[in-house]
Homo-oligomer: 225 residues x 2
Amino acid sequence: MVKRAVILLSGGLDSATVLAAARAEGYACYTMSFDYGQRHRSELDASQRISAALGAVEHKVIGIQLDGIGGSALTDSRLSVPDAQAHTQTIPVTYVPARNTVFLSLALGWAEVLKAYDIFIGVNDVDYSGYPDCRMEFIQAFEQVANLATREGVEGRKFRIQAPLQSLSKAAIIRLGTQLGVDYALTVSCYQADQQGRACGVCDSCQLRKQGFLNANINDPTRYF
Amino acid sequence: MVKRAVILLSGGLDSATVLAAARAEGYACYTMSFDYGQRHRSELDASQRISAALGAVEHKVIGIQLDGIGGSALTDSRLSVPDAQAHTQTIPVTYVPARNTVFLSLALGWAEVLKAYDIFIGVNDVDYSGYPDCRMEFIQAFEQVANLATREGVEGRKFRIQAPLQSLSKAAIIRLGTQLGVDYALTVSCYQADQQGRACGVCDSCQLRKQGFLNANINDPTRYF
């Protein structure tokens, strides 16, 4: 039987590259995205298009009312998304409390149902926004939880949380994805993209992306509004 | 400032007791329940009544489409809830994949927003249905994740996942709650309760509850259909 993997897909550049990498390793890929009260829905449309373009077996969108919790500029419309900031130790207002923990938990639930023992996530601690739940020590701790929380874990099979981009620069990620055939025109990175998926060009995420294409010396297909 | 706690509330006997215990310890209690596609909504009504009766500051219900994941008799209407089974090593069909991981993740998100550093959960590994995510080693692993995943954790404050019922028998839990003034008539334990919160009397959860009241020698207020 072909080995299965669940891939967390945000619609952005990193997770699209992760999907391409998992597929290149021979996994049957099940992609998962979340409708969590985020500011724009174009990232869900992007996830759907990326899943189709990169041959995912199934794309599932799970609704969660994270906006009921608040605490982030990405889920609370009363807070505004700031322009790119100097990268300091400060965790920015776009941090969504416990987001990757929630997303990995739901991926784990689906993985257990699918008997998929590999869960891929596009976290990266080089060119990132300083979120605590993008660090390798977090990923490793969650892997522990995954193996203690589940029927499959108790019965002796082992879940792995794979973060293949962990130590890559944004430019290296873009080079990798380009080699693997990712069409980055399908991806949306902007924290405040419009309905058509066009980007603002000034938020932290846009700046990281723009600089990545420049550094990789690869043509940037991003559309701006 | 009064210390705050987030209490996971299922509407059942255990979590109502946990809420009473947290309140007795002086916490300002924020209760959290989930609308996750479970078979009956009476447990959400019960959570609301219990929160009011035991003086919670706020009761939040978060929607999650766990039924989109399936894999459990509690969220998939095509699977039926079995009668109580002999307690073996087997994990029953009522196990919901990664449920407590998902619930604790969302509680963590809210706790971070509230600056509540204690999260209470009513898991118990004595009289329980054999779910892997009710064991102490799971709770401890999740506490690790909580402290690595969050802004608060990174900044040096410490989240604690408190499971005060962990090693109590069902009878001991009922005695504790009775001392603390819990009205168990408000709680619903049955896996297939009706709209009015009346219980089947034959599922695993009903059997554990019934035996608990018998062993505690306390009058059982459960209503059966």
